[in-house]
Every structure is written in C-alpha cells, then in structure tokens.
C-alpha cells in the first residue's frame, strides 16, 4: 500500500501544480453547461424530461469531466515513458501491479476532484441536490467512472509509443462513448435501433448513476447501473494491469 500511496502522492502533487490543466479541463464542460443548458432550456420540451434541460444536463457534464480527465490521466504514462521517469519506477524494487494501482488511484482522484468542482459550480446554475445521500451516491459513481477510465487510459498508453495515437483514441473511442451515454439527451428519445447501442456503452450506467444521485431520477435502475459500471471498472483495471505488466522502456 505504501508504494501505491507514493505514486498517488506524486499524481496529487503534479495535479495541484498544474493550474492551467485544472482550469483548462473545467472550462469545456462549464461552457457546454452554460451554452447548451441555457440555450436549449426553452427549446427542449420539459415534458419529456420531467425537469428543466439544464438540470438534466448537469450530471452529464459531471460525468464528462470525470471521463475526459481520467482518460487523460491514464494516458499520461506515455509522457513518463518519453521523459524517462517511468524507468525510475520500473527499476525500483516494486511490482508493476503496485505502480499501476498507484497511477489508477491518482488519476481517479484527480478526475473525481475535477468532477466535484463542476458539481459545485453547477449549484450556482440551479442544481439542488436532494439530500446528502444523493451526493454520496453520485460521488461513488464518479469514483467508479474515474477508476474505469484511468485504467482504460493506462491500458491504451501501455501499447502506445508516443502521443500521436492520442487524438485517434479521443475521437474514435472516448467521444463516441460520451455521445452515446445519454449525457446530453435522454436515452428514451433515441430511435429504437440506436437504443441497444447506448445500453452497451458502459458510460451510460455511470451517467445514469450520477444523475440518480444528483436529481433523484434516472431511466436505469441505480442498482443495475452500479453493477455494470462497477464490473466495468474491475474489468478495465485487470486489462490495464495486464497490459502495463508488459510495458518495456
């Protein structure tokens, strides 16, 4: 555990120092929240949602922040590879598993903190969390999404030599996952043929879980959501650990 903590601690120190990154990765979801939220609030019929569009959108934006931050944190291992720092960790008398867990814990923590910042800002935009339990439910789902996608980032980074493939992964994997997740619109409003695809997207369950926590309503049973995103987090951690074991520098 001490090694996992050491690597987590390094992530935290780097995170706290990278102010531009903190601001940069919050700006996008915040702008979307303001532009889409207010812009579409009157256009989107409230009837189909049962609530204001902006309130529907907030959990989606929280999920988006966690998703993008965690994938990015995981992929950062490539930089450690390129700047040589990974070597320093790999020749130490520690196991690869400890390093991988430390990185995952660090990335997930960063992502969750970013998500919480968006959540706090959302309160200014009208978010009213129903009760403290709701907040903790949302937090639990954010942690699971954070772990799952940091591990995903590590898995990807383990197989990449440099950042050239990063854009590809972002555009063809992460963005579709986000788009299909029901972060921006209710799953029920999709055409019937697209709905099953949405239900195959693990992020859908993360978004629904966070939405349940923050607004008290969701289209998927929160227990089902917890099981699916939890299972996915475990699976991604295993895949990440397996691929990271084979990393060579």
């Amino acid at each position: 555990m001490d090694i996992v903590y050491t690597i987590w601690l390094r992530s935290m120190k780097r995170y706290v120092r990278s102010r531009s990154r903190i601001v940069g990765s919050i700006a996008m979801p915040l702008f979307l929240l303001v532009f889409l939220g207010f812009g579409l609030n009157s256009v989107v019929s409230a009837a189909s949602l049962g609530q204001q569009y902006i309130l529907f959108l907030i959990p989606g934006m929280v999920a988006m922040t966690v998703l993008f931050t965690s994938v990015f944190s995981g992929i950062q291992i490539i930089w450690d590879k390129q700047f040589g720092f990974l070597k320093e960790t790999l020749v130490a008398p520690v196991t690869r598993l400890e390093i991988m867990f430390g990185q995952t814990a660090g990335g997930a923590t960063t992502a969750v903190i970013q998500g919480i910042i968006i959540m706090v800002l959302a309160v200014l935009l009208g978010l009213r969390i129903q009760n403290p339990a709701g907040f903790f439910i949302a937090l639990a789902f954010m942690i699971l999404v954070g772990i799952a996608f940091t591990a995903f980032g590590i898995a990807v980074a383990s197989r990449m030599e440099d950042m050239t493939g990063f854009q590809l992964i972002m555009n063809f994997v992460v963005f579709p996952l986000f788009g299909l997740s029901g972060a921006l619109f209710p799953i029920s409003s999709l055409p019937a043929w697209l709905k099953p695809v949405t239900l195959l997207d693990p992020l859908t369950y993360g978004v629904e879980g966070i939405r349940y926590g923050l607004t008290g309503a969701s289209q998927i049973n929160p227990l089902v959501s917890a099981a699916v995103i939890g299972g996915f987090a475990v699976a991604m951690t295993l895949v990440g650990a397996y691929l990271f074991r084979k990393v060579s520098v």
Binding site: D2, I3, T6, L9, R10, K13, R14, R17, S18, F83, G84, F85, K87, E88, T89, L90, V91, A92, P93, V94, S248, V249
Partner: protein, 328 residues
C-alpha cells in the same frame, strides 16, 4: 577483495541484431569499471540487462552474489542507476524527487530525510532543494540523479554516459564527484562512456566494447602500453607511398587511413628527422606531422581500425537503416 559483479557470456539479441555478444567480465568491490565504446556498441544493453530492465537472451550474471534473473528485486535493491536519458520528474522539486525515490525503496522517513539532506549537500544542490527540477541546468539534473541513485545506499552504482551533453566545466565537476564517491563510500561503479578522457581519468579498469563484443580489457595504463610506444601521425596526399619509403625496423606498426598514416614507434622524437628525410628523398609531400603519447583513442583504433567517432557515424547510419526497414 570480493567480487561485486560477475558477468558470464551475457548475450542479448533483437531479432538478427546481436546487441551484446557473450560479454564476460568480473568487477572487484570498490572498483570503477568502464565500458568504453561507440554509440550502439552494446554498452547500454549490457547495463540494462545487469539492472534487470532487459531480459538476457542467454548467459548469466550476479551482482553482489545475487543472480540477475532469479532475484530481480534483490538486484534492484543492491544497485543504483543513473540512466543515459534523464529520468527525473520535472514538475517536482529536487527534494520531492529524492523523497519519491526513498519511498519507492521503502526507506523509513527519518533515514530518508536525513540522507536526502546529506546527499543534496554532497552534490551542492541543498540550496536549491525546493526548486522545481524544470528550472535546473543539465549539470544540476545530472548531479541530482547521481544523488538520487545513492539514496538507498546501493553497493553497485551504474552510470550510463554520466556526462553526455554536458559542457567541459560541468564534466570536470562531475568527475570529481564520482571520484569522491568511489573513495568515500567505497561503492563499486560501472560506467559506460564513449569519451576517452572520461574512461582514462575515472576508471581503474576498462573494457573496450564494439559490435556487442568486448575486444580488450585492462587498466587504462596497460591498454596504452600495449600500443608499444609513441604515435606519429603524418598527413599527406600520398599516404599510399609512405610504407615503402620507410623500410625501417623501428616502426612497429602502421595504419594507413584516408589522408593520413599512423605509425607506432618507441622514442618517436629521435626518429622524426629521419622520417622526414626519408619521405623528402622520395618526394612525398608532408602536410603535417605530429607526435603524441598513446591515448585510449589509439587503443581503440589499433583494435578496430577505426576511431570511435567514425564508428559513431557509421553506426548511426546503420541504425537508421535498421529502423527504416522495421517501419516498412
């Protein structure tokens, strides 16, 4: 004296490329041992195998009696490494880099902090301990890496091209640190270098390595003695004619290269005028002539027929070819 490092027929192949070819040597405790050779000769590959980063294709090695393949963690605890490429976290301070390392090696807090302070003072970075590494110069980073490599009190320290890319002044300073370390801490040091002066100045013994093979191994003094005298270099447009013009017994060896010929002979000063007279008699033009005591460069030349710099250039070309082929 006990053996610190024992290497037996260590081999690493990457496909058809044999990067290290049955490398064998033994290093006594407290020795500074140098692997000297051009870029791509197999120095780093050998070091990577000894430090458990690379799995050997065949052969074996022990460090402080610990087998590098059977007990990787044991080896990792016994060694400290300064890599050829930088391996610091630039976003952290000097102190935090040391602290991270100490935690990875599970050094208790108090010992860790005390040693960190002590080592940072040794490499004269104590005043900058709370500065982000990004603001450090190349020499400071190198010193920090050496300090970090010593934090867990390794018995064997690996230095991979410790002064590459540094200015002469910083290089001199680092050499002093390394000498002090070897003397004060009595640790065994293996360093790789392609700088002749570095190997000459620091190492008790040197293994010259080329194309993955050790081609000579001895103390710097004995390697140079083996050349057998002084080295005379003659630059001339007619180098091809020179051997025939000098049918004398005191020239021990001669090597004709592009635009120059290199002769080895004892007491060269006494023979200089005769050489010039003989070449003049044959109407061979002399652009320049020089005499020097043999250096490791001459040793390398005598074993390989090339200077290290030439090797570097041709090796880079062949590496480039290699990578191009792999890419297509």
């Amino acid at each position: 004296m006990t053996t610190a490092v024992a290497v037996h027929e260590l081999t690493k192949s990457f496909g058809s490329l044999v990067a290290a070819d049955r490398v064998s040597f033994a290093i006594e405790q407290g020795e500074i041992f140098g692997l000297l050779g051009p870029n791509g000769a197999g120095k780093t590959t050998t070091l990577s195998m000894l430090s458990t980063i690379l799995e050997p294709t065949s052969g074996s090695a022990t460090i402080m009696g610990i087998d590098i393949q059977k007990d990787q963690d044991g080896v990792r605890k016994a060694i400290g490494i300064v890599f050829q490429d930088q391996s610091l976290d630039e976003e952290l301070t000097a102190w935090e880099n040391m602290d991270f390392h100490g935690r990875l090696y599970r050094i208790p807090k108090e010992v860790r902090e005390q040693r960190t302070d002590e080592l940072l003072k040794l490499v004269e970075l104590y005043d900058r301990r709370n500065d982000i590494v990004k603001t450090f110069s190349g020499g400071m980073r190198r010193r920090l890496e050496i300090a970090r490599g010593l934090l867990h009190h390794p018995q064997v320290l690996f230095l991979d091209e410790p002064t590459i890319g540094l200015d002469p002044q910083t290089r001199n300073l680092l050499w002093k640190y390394i000498e002090t370390l070897a003397k004060e801490k009595n640790i065994t040091i293996i360093l790789t270098t392609h700088y002749m002066e570095e190997a000459d100045r620091l190492c008790n013994r040197i293994a010259i390595i080329d194309h993955g093979k050790i081609i000579a191994m001895d103390t710097p003094a004995r390697l140079k003695d083996a050349i057998g005298g002084d080295v005379v270099t003659i630059h001339s447009p007619d180098t091809a004619k020179i051997p025939a013009a000098l049918p004398v017994p005191w020239v021990k060896r001669q090597e004709t290269r592009e635009g120059e010929i290199i002769l080895t002979l004892e007491n060269a000063e006494q023979h200089l005028s005769e050489i010039v007279t003989r070449l003049n008699a044959e109407h061979i033009e002399i652009t320049s002539i020089s005499v020097h005591k043999p250096t490791l460069e001459d040793v390398f030349l005598s074993y390989t027929g090339k200077t290290i710099r030439e090797e570097d250039i041709s090796r880079k070309d062949s590496m480039r070819m290699h990578f191009r082929m792999m890419r297509h």
